[in-house]
């Protein structure tokens, strides 16, 4: 029997192709979720205007956002090989590097989120914080700049959401990731995840319906962007066409179409649409599906993007 062995067992000869794992996928998911939360917080702050009447879920969302982003950045920290060197991100700014952009965006988003907590967090939490004098002063300053905070929130939300996709797209060596649709796709997914989370937290029926409607739009946009992602790859260069085969019969077909498209987008979209038309009453399971789908989207894209390289999905050292 003819047996062809390609021995590539020498350490360091082949580039390490699979270097990002669940932690990066988890960070991208949480980052996108926070981006969506910032978007909706800003939107509702603008909508409420002088009345200052915000849905309860939005108030709690403002509390959750810094915690979720903190958890996401902790995952990113876990991914670092040289953990003690984390401060070096903040000694330089390279405008050509999305990594550098990201680390600065993340740092700048935190003050904004803290101001939002002081402004709109539920009274039980706010009263704890405002007792401290500087916080009280900051809160009164922010109160005057309500609309500025709202607009900033929308802008940073969109920037953060797009950035999580561009971070992947910047790597030309990974054909699956190099797509202009990835940034908007992750943004739409982040917004839909945030709408689902807020719908999950909301008790008021009218406000809940508002978030459900927002989720239907965001999920619809996500579906369209997934389509754009496929069209973009299918009409691009040979290596893009081969990379997208991972989702068209290749190793990631079932996770992508099953978990991401059907479970995470199509099924919740259908059920929420039916709910808005008064045909069914959906439970907490539907927003949970949207969140699971959002996590699955990041996980599948991160994993498949690294598989689409030399040798397709075959592990490098063992392929014959």
């Amino acid at each position: 029997m003819t047996e062809t062995l390609v021995l590539r067992t020498n350490e360091g000869i082949d580039p390490q192709l699979h270097i990002w794992g669940w932690d990066v996928a988890g960070y991208l998911f949480l980052g996108g979720l926070v981006a969506g939360l910032l978007f909706f917080i800003g939107l509702h702050m603008r909508r409420s205007g002088a009345r200052r009447a915000l849905p309860t879920s939005v108030r709690w969302g403002a509390v959750a956002a810094p915690l979720l982003l903190g958890a996401g950045m902790f995952l990113l920290f876990l991914d670092l090989d040289l953990k003690l060197h984390v401060w070096r991100f903040y000694t330089a700014f390279r405008w050509t590097s999305p990594m550098s952009w990201g680390s600065w965006i993340l740092l700048l988003v935190f003050p904004l989120m803290l101001v939002q907590v002081l402004l709109i967090a539920p009274e039980s939490i706010r009263s704890l914080l405002v007792r401290a004098a500087p916080a009280s002063w900051a809160a009164s300053m922010a109160e005057r700049g309500w609309n500025v905070v709202a607009s900033l929130s929308i802008l940073t939300g969109v920037a953060l959401g797009i950035y999580t996709g561009i971070l992947l797209g910047a790597s030309v060596a990974r054909p699956l990731w190099s797509s202009a649709a990835l940034g908007p796709l992750f943004l739409a997914s982040g917004i839909s995840g945030a709408a689902a989370l807020l719908a999950l937290l909301e008790r008021d029926h009218a406000a809940r319906a508002w978030f459900t409607r927002a989720d239907v739009w965001a999920l619809g946009a996500e579906l369209a962007l997934i389509g754009a992602f496929f069209v973009g790859h299918a009409t691009s260069t040979r290596c893009h066409i081969e990379a997208i085969q991972l989702f068209l019969g290749g190793a990631y077909t079932a996770p992508f179409w099953g978990l991401v498209v059907v479970v995470g987008v199509a099924a919740p979209l259908l059920l929420e649409w039916l709910e808005l038309r008064g045909r069914v009453v959906v439970s907490a399971a539907v927003p949970v599906l949207v969140l699971v789908g959002g996590l699955a989207l990041r996980y599948v894209i991160v994993a498949a993007g690294q598989a689409a390289g030399v040798g397709g999905d075959a592990p490098l050292n063992t392929f014959f």
């Binding site: 029997m1 439970s283 907490a284």
Partner: protein, 420 residues
């Protein structure tokens, strides 16, 4: 729900990835139908037992009739092979007791395993408790198994089905089930009316849904569908029965932990075996029983002496594959050994002509066809040459191999079935 997409999966129409995806769609559809027909509400299931509302039973019987009519008609039309359908083995008494225990669980909880998932998805807390109960009950059963095992495995009837047990043609049984279901539909309607009438004139509101206004068009459609199913089952079921014996219905044969039903398959020629090996299309083990010289052995052979063979088969020490190909020097001794492997529940065949034939047909170069040959002969030569090159490491053009023969073995045993 069964674990695979039958029969499209077994026919290899899709890859695993696509099958997983289709299973997901079927599952979502199943869950949605369960939820929409009220199975996710424990009240609806329990109200059967008070005689108030039989909707769950109606849906269940309709599902049974639809599935049965589909199976009978498809196999009658020759579109489906009932022999491939996997049926759980019947252990009469254990399953009667188990059925009663399960039924008691239904009454107490108002759910069965499948509907509890639908209930949980529609936000019912009690359904979550039922879901938690499933692994808990399984664990308790596993712990008690040393005590219960003897009872659980007693009174095996093999893979029993009503037609094979009664010895009646499939269509007769199917018509019987149709009539039984029709009668049950009429009877439960009466019971519902009777129970509700007892509340008329009292201050207690009638239980169950308000009387359904019957849409004459819908009702006529339902009757028509019922009649169409009945006629289809009689016509196509009779066509099926004319072709087969009753015992074939749903009779699953294959390797099994309890029952050993192996089979001796027709012998393989050297070329056929080579095709299977080149394509790697089937999981086979090649067992060479020669004790002396191992000359001209088939690549990948394992060497087991004739004396050890049945012993190792009995002890499950042979590799787990779909079929076993026995090889000897001349192909004579293995002819007698194959049935003994089959007796241990394995699919066995042998290499016709043994390694002598292998050496002649595969290991020696084929003779070049000379003068006035047909296209077929050239194709045959090309295939022989490429097979020869494949097994002797000779340099060659890409392989040109005809499709490998298919050893007809039963599909691997799968779990599943039941109302879950």
């Amino acid at each position: 729900m069964s674990g695979s997409l039958f029969p499209l999966y077994t026919s290899g129409a899709f890859g695993d990835e696509i099958v997983l995806f289709i299973q997901l769609l079927v599952g979502i559809g199943f869950g949605f139908a369960l939820e929409r027909s009220g199975f996710a509400r424990s009240e609806n299931l329990v109200s059967i037992f008070y005689g108030r509302d039989f909707r769950v039973m109606r849906v269940m019987f309709t599902a049974i009739l639809t599935a049965m009519a589909g199976l009978v008609m498809l196999s009658g039309a020759g579109l489906m092979d009932m022999g491939l359908l996997y049926l759980n083995e019947t252990f009469l008494w254990a399953q009667l007791v188990g059925g009663l225990v399960l039924g008691a669980g239904f009454v107490v909880s108002g759910y069965c395993p499948g509907t509890s998932l639908a209930g949980a998805a529609s936000g019912r807390i009690d359904a979550l408790f039922v879901i938690a109960g499933v692994p808990l009950g399984s664990w308790i059963y596993a712990e008690l198994y040393p005590l219960l095992g003897a009872f659980a495995n007693s009174a095996s009837m093999g893979t029993a089905s009503l037609p094979s047990w009664l010895g009646a043609p499939v269509w007769v049984v199917a018509v019987g089930v149709f009539l039984f279901a029709g009668g049950a539909f009429l009877a439960v309607g009466r019971i519902e009316r009777w129970v509700r009438r007892r509340f008329v004139g009292t201050e207690v509101p009638a239980p169950g849904p308000a009387p359904i206004r019957i849409n004459p068009l819908k009702s006529a459609t339902h009757h028509l569908l019922f009649a169409a199913g009945l006629i289809g089952v009689v016509v196509l079921g009779a066509a099926y029965s004319a072709r087969t014996v009753p015992a074939d219905w749903g009779r699953y044969v294959g390797p099994d932990e309890h029952e050993h039903e192996g089979k001796v398959l027709p012998p393989l020629g050297a070329i056929e075996l080579a095709r299977i090996l080149v394509e790697g299309s089937q999981e086979i083990a090649i067992i060479d029983i020669r004790e002396g010289s191992k000359e001209a052995s088939v690549p990948g052979s394992i060497f087991v002496s004739a004396g050890d063979l049945t012993e190792r088969a009995a002890a499950h020490e042979l590799p787990h594959v779909d079929a076993y190909v026995l090889v000897s020097g001349d192909g004579e001794r293995v002819r007698e050994l194959a049935p003994s492997l089959a007796a241990h529940g394995l699919y066995a065949t042998w290499l016709d002509g043994g390694t002598r034939a292998w050496k002649k047909a595969i290991l020696s170069p084929p003779r070049t066809p000379e003068g006035g040959v047909t296209k077929d002969q050239v194709a045959l030569y090309e295939e022989r040459a490429s097979i020869h090159a494949y097994f002797t490491d000779a340099k060659t053009a890409p392989l040109k191999v005809k499709a490998s023969p298919v050893l007809k073995v039963a599909p691997k045993k799968r779990k599943g079935g039941g109302c879950s």
